[in-house]
Chain length 92, copies 2
DNA sequence: GCCAGGCATCGACGAATGTCAATGAATGGT
DNA sequence: ACCATTCATTGACATTCGTCGATGCCTGGC
């Protein structure tokens, strides 16, 4: 594996290497309509609102979530195909 | 996803969230016989021997590699089924 | 126009991480 | 018996990370 590919792939895995972010991904995936707002996610996590927003920002930056702002609320959803593509890199 | 499951899964992903460790996994997987010794791995990585050994120890601790000592050499090999099991967690 | 609510951002702090040089432990050859 | 080789471990250091509190920015309603 080339150094560049390793760095890019490692960035994605690093984004998933945190329990809070894995739970956020799981909650977004399980949400009705495939999207959830921070107000819902924040209640279930015993973390400050700023911290949850920070983690969600990292997941968006890693290409795993999308952020859609409607009115006052921000809705997060899975990037279609991102997780399957990641799974494919593990089953060469 | 429960907090405990998230913590366990995150530990595995965190172990893969480093370019050096991804390259080590790749090199071990591509090695003939499915195993490689530190002396081989060390040459291709422009890192000190101690650092490579440290990363390999982390991968063993994460349940991704096994370590077999034969004579003076330590041979590392993939844990059978570990990566496919990880891939399965991504394609629920 | 003002105010309340939902989020993102900033500054700060302790904890964890990646790296190296140096040392230690074990093995094989001379 | 001695030495060279292979690898793990230790101590140290700079950097990054996760978290919080506080603040700032929009949006929608009064």
């Amino acid at each position: 594996m080339a150094a560049d590919d390793a760095a890019a792939l490692a960035a994605t895995f690093k984004a998933m290497g945190d329990p809070t972010r894995l739970r956020l991904l799981s909650m977004v995936a399980a949400a009705e309509g495939g999207e959830a707002c921070v107000c819902d996610l924040n209640e279930s996590l015993a973390l400050s609102q700023g911290t949850v927003s920070h983690h969600l920002g990292l997941l968006v930056n890693a290409g795993l979530l999308t952020r859609t702002k409607r009115g006052v609320w921000s809705y997060y959803a899975l990037v279609p195909g991102a997780l399957p593509a990641l799974a494919r890199t593990l089953t060469v």
